[in-house]
Each structure stands twice: as C-alpha cells, then as structure tokens.
C-alpha cells in the first residue's frame, strides 16, 4: 500500500523505518511488545534476587528451597517463566517466518510452538513443585 505522507510520529500503528517504509501492527507484534515489557521487569527482579544479592552469585540447594518457600517468590518466578517462554517462542517464530514459509507451514510452526510453550511451562511448574516439596 502506497503512503504519501511519510512517517507519522505520534500515531499508533505507524512507524518510521530506515528505508522510509510504514509498518502496520500485527497481533504477534503487539503481544511481543507487551510480553517484552513484562520480561524486562521480571528478568531484572530474577537476576537481582537470584544472582546479584546472593553470595557467590548462585544459591546452593538449601538456599533455593528456602527462597521458593515464599509464595510471592513462586508467583513471580512462575509469571517470569510463562512470560519469557511466550516472548522467546514468539520471537523465534518471527525469525523463522523470515524464511518465507507457506501460510500452511506458518500455521504448523505456530501450533508446534504453542505445544512447546505449554510443555516448557508444565516442566517449570513440575520442577518448582518438586523443589518446594523438599521444604
């Protein structure tokens, strides 16, 4: 679609690009932006709580069990797992779509990634449950 007015700063749904093209938002892009913002907050918390305030930079087993005995920590870490999985797989999907697959192949990729995402979160929940059961 031809655009004659060029970049339109301040209007949602358009963006300046190096080649002067105008991009339109897709649901994938909006979900990626929202999950990216959430990941930014949660990864910062995760890195500080698990590495930067911990002596030696990594919790030992007893310390991990004690850390996950706090329900607020469990909720935050599970939220982080869900959001980072969502953002990572959606990003990899975007990279794969750059190969120019057929619409049918793109649908298959989306479905495989949805299953993979659920499996990753299920694994994380199982692991969290296993660790907390040591408490």
């Amino acid at each position: 679609m031809a655009q004659s007015e060029g970049p339109t700063p301040g209007r949602i749904g358009t963006t300046w690009t190096p080649s002067g093209e105008v991009a339109r938002p897709t649901w994938g892009w909006i979900l990626q932006a929202v999950s990216g913002a959430l990941v930014l907050v949660l990864v910062t918390l995760h890195m500080i709580a698990n590495h930067f305030v911990v002596a030696g930079g990594l919790r030992d087993f007893a310390d991990v069990v004690a850390y996950l005995s706090d329900p607020v920590v469990v909720v935050l870490e599970v939220c982080f797992l869900v959001v980072v999985t969502w953002h990572g797989l959606l990003g990899l999907r975007a990279v794969l779509f750059d190969f120019g697959f057929s619409p049918r192949a793109e649908t298959a990729i989306t479905r495989v990634f949805a299953v993979l995402g659920v499996a990753i979160v299920a694994y994380g929940l199982w692991l969290t449950w296993t660790i907390t059961s040591y408490h």
Partner: protein, 139 residues
C-alpha cells in the same frame, strides 16, 4: 510520491533490498537502525538458547542437593563467569533496544529514536561494566 510499502512488523530494520534471513547480512542501504535490528535478533536467539540451557541445567535441582551443589561449585569458574558477562550483554542490548523498538512501534519518540538508541546503549554499557566488576569481584 515517495516509494513506500508496508513491511512486516518486527522486520523494519531489515535491509530494504533483501528481505528474509538473507537480508540480515546485506550491508547495502543499512543504517544504525538496521544494525540494531540484526543485533536485536542475534541477541534474542542467543538469550533464547541460554534460556533452554538454563531450564535443562535447573533439572539438577530435581535430583537433590548433591547434584545441584556440585554444579554451583563448577559455575564459579572464570570461564562460566565470562559466559555470565556475555549473557548480561545480550540481556542488556536486547532489553534496552527493545524499549526503543516498542516505543517507536507505538508511534512514540519516532523522530528522536537515534538519540534514544545512543542514550540507551550508554546506560547499557555502564550497567555491563558495573555487572562485570560485580561478577568478578563479589561473585
């Protein structure tokens, strides 16, 4: 009328001459935003690879204290600490550049995005140095 076309969201920084993966390595017509786009994708792929590795390593926790604590002692080696700094570079670049991409994508600070990119990268460089000093001194 200037020649403009609709491009896929998220591929705005790709080379205007060659789309797709082949366009990543094409330097023609590429400006700062284009290089930021490539580095954003490479750091994204790197951090995602790390995430999978991290989740696999965490399975040691399910095998009990001796399995996990054995890994903790290995992870304190200088080689692992160097990987930690590389990881933090990836997180900082991807996260800070992501702020710019998101704001611009929603039509905000579009005309000041180059200055914003430079400012975010300066913040990132300072954070990386502070983190690296912390990792190699405090641990």
């Amino acid at each position: 009328m200037s020649e403009q076309s609709v491009v896929k969201r998220g591929t705005e920084g790709a080379s205007p001459r060659r789309r797709g993966i082949a366009g990543w390595g094409d330097p023609r017509g590429r400006r700062l935003g284009g290089w930021a786009f490539i580095l954003n994708r490479l750091t994204g792929l790197g951090v995602l690879a790390y995430l999978f590795l991290h989740l696999i390593v965490l399975s040691l926790l399910a095998r009990g204290p001796s399995a996990w604590d054995g890994f903790v002692s290995i992870a304190a080696s200088p080689l692992f600490l160097c990987f930690d700094v590389v990881l933090i570079f990836g997180l900082l670049f991807h996260g800070l550049n992501g702020i710019r991409v998101t704001l611009v994508g929603f039509g905000l600070v579009v005309d000041r995005q180059r200055a914003m990119f430079v400012a975010l990268m300066i913040i990132g460089a300072i954070a990386l140095v502070v983190a690296a000093i912390h990792i190699f001194t405090v641990g």
